[in-house]
Amino acid sequence: MSVTTGPAAMSLGDGHAAALRRDRTIERWLMLSLAAPALLLVFVCLIVPVGWLFYLSFFTDGGVATLDNYRHLVEQPSYARIFWTTFKVSALTTAICAVLGYPLAYFMSQLPARAANLCMILVLLPFWTSLLVRTYAWLVLLQRTGLINTWGMQLGLWSEPLPLVNNMTGTLIGMVHIMLPFIVLPLYGSMRTIDRTLVQAAANLGASPVQSFVRVFLPLSLPGLTAGALVVFILCLGFYITPEVLGGGRVTMVSSRIATDIDTFLNWGSASALGAVLLLLTLILLWVASRLAKGLSLVGAGH
């Protein structure tokens, strides 16, 4: 490598430092401009309305500033019940999705790429039909005179129609069906990246299939499981159609109550307060969950 000397080197001055710095800045702004449309959309469609609702929740219908909307939430036991139902339905749906989705994702992750892609299409197939159609389809299947009860009784499996719909059971069946792909996708993604030789190494070192699953595969698939469970849980919190149709009025979740407040009572303040509290509770829950996960991973680091 030769070193440039003489007039040519001298005339470089600061070696274009200022110009290069300017180029870098321009590049950074150009990159940012790629995100600008999305940022604008988020601002207009999310930040502004949520902020507006939050603002509304501090006023009565007459426009008088008040904390009444929040006092009602605390004082009326029906609200506590609604929140409890919402979190219970969401947690149960998430748990059932995890139990059903994990083996499915595992199966798919072990398939050759072509077969796995085919399975993925099958998993995603429900997305191609409307959510409302799928929910009503479940109603047809699950009702007292529906396909499942008719067949079950004709085959003599049970004698009375089972209460499969217009209750918690129906709601959970419908919600699990709709939510399953949301947990399978991230799970499959994280399992696909787990190096197969790690499981072989575990076996080589003396681990039975169960031991190598528990000690190696499961911990490595946890990020996918956590991500999927979070997505499902959060989507469930805001679910409206499925609990309304399949719950038969017996499963009232926060979103149903918000709809009633607005549709029936035109009470924007109360509906906004419900939304704000749900958002707050969700954030607290996520924070606690992330703290717990961090603690667990610290404890587990040495093992």
Binding site: T197, L198, Q200, A201, N204, L205, S208
Partner: protein
């Protein structure tokens, strides 16, 4: 040096095919107790498949494998009690160094105090003392390699398998690790099977080398022998450099262009044979050649300086050529004949090796 507990391995008629592709074709192999045996072959030769069959990860179609006197062909991998070093190390990313090494001990229900002691001893053995609390992602390639080795050795397995463990390391580190692995093997005396496609690595480390080609065992011999007395053109070309001359064998004598080739051994068969010439075994002959040499005359057509040696291509006419190497010291460089000059090359009778020609 075999330790008392070292096992020998009998591989008998092991066959494995994927559809129409035969990966292992009735392989027979006897690995002696305490031996360092290398499976050497080009990629796709079946050497890794054979290792995976030994480890229990690949189920062969037929055959028998004995560890000592125990038949293991159907035994699950976790019951084979083998230590394996994987090509990509296969260290558990969610455990630290000590956790990885303790893994096989925990499975064997070893007590905590004993585990701590043995993990530290294993780390000392691979010269990583005090690294126990490091995360796997904090280690360099060479350090990961050592951790993988420690993990494979810590539970004192009956047999050690290594699948190209050094292929991801840079040249200097690789050569250092080769000597270190060799030293460890001499200390422990565990039967070791090592897979590589690097002939130099195989020559450096092995007690014996098994050359695998197209799912078959091509030759099994000591490094010295396999280099100097390969049994086929494939082995000769795969291990070391060589040029070949077509010779005709009849009546137990070989002739190259009507000149009798003097050799210690009679040609392997009648008809067409190959004379193998290693570049460092031929020399330039000045004046009269001695009796124990076969001589070839030709014309220099190329000289390339390659640092430690000078590579010279000599054209014998008729489309045949010999490549030789002379040390690139000042004496060698000065006495070098010029380009296009006619020279005579000598190959000593002891180095004269005849191979069967492929049809």
């Amino acid at each position: 040096m075999a330790s008392a507990s070292a096992l020998d391995i009998h591989v008998r008629q092991v066959t494995k095919s994927y559809g129409a592709i035969v990966v292992l074709d009735r392989v027979d192999l006897h690995v002696q107790a305490g031996e360092f045996l290398t499976l050497l072959g080009p990629s796709g030769s079946g050497k890794t498949t054979l290792l995976m069959v030994l480890a229990g990860f690949t189920r062969p179609d037929s055959g028998s494998i004995l560890f000592g006197s125990e038949e293991v062909i159907r035994l699950a991998p976790q019951k084979r009690d083998l230590g394996m070093v994987f090509q990509n190390y296969a260290l558990f990313p969610h455990m630290n160094v000590a956790g990885n090494i303790a893994f096989p001990l925990r499975l064997r229900k070893v007590g905590a105090a004993e585990i701590a002691k043995r993990v530290e001893a294993a780390l000392e053995m691979v010269q990583l003392g005090g690294y126990g609390t490091r995360g796997i992602h904090e280690l360099s390639g060479g350090q990961r390699q050592r951790v993988a080795l420690a993990r494979a050795l810590v539970f004192e397995p009956r047999i050690i398998l290594m699948d190209e463990p050094l292929s991801a390391l840079d040249k200097q580190l690789r050569e250092l690790m080769q000597l270190e692995l060799r030293r460890l093997h001499e200390k422990l005396g565990t039967t070791t099977i090592y897979v590589t496609h690097d002939q130099r690595e195989a020559l450096t480390m092995s007690d014996r080398i098994a050359v695998i080609n197209k799912g078959k065992l091509a030759q099994l011999d000591s490094p010295r022998h396999i280099y100097s007395k390969p049994n086929s053109r494939f082995v000769a070309e795969f291990i070391g450099e060589s040029t070949f001359l077509n010779v005709a064998a009849s009546g137990g004598v070989c002739r190259y262009r009507d000149t009798v080739i003097k050799a210690d051994a009679a040609p392997v068969r009648e008809g067409r044979c190959l004379l193998m010439i290693r570049p460092e075994q031929v020399q330039i002959v000045d004046g009269a050649a001695s009796d124990n040499m076969n001589c070839f005359s030709g014309r220099i057509v190329g000289r390339v300086f390659q640092g430690d040696t000078l590579r010279i291509d000599v054209d014998l006419g008729g489309g045949e050529a010999i490549t030789l190497r002379v040390p690139a010291n000042s004496a060698g460089l000065q006495s070098m004949p010029a380009d296009r000059e006619s020279i005579t090359l000598g190959l000593s009778v002891a180095d004269t090796t005849l191979l069967p020609a492929e049809d």
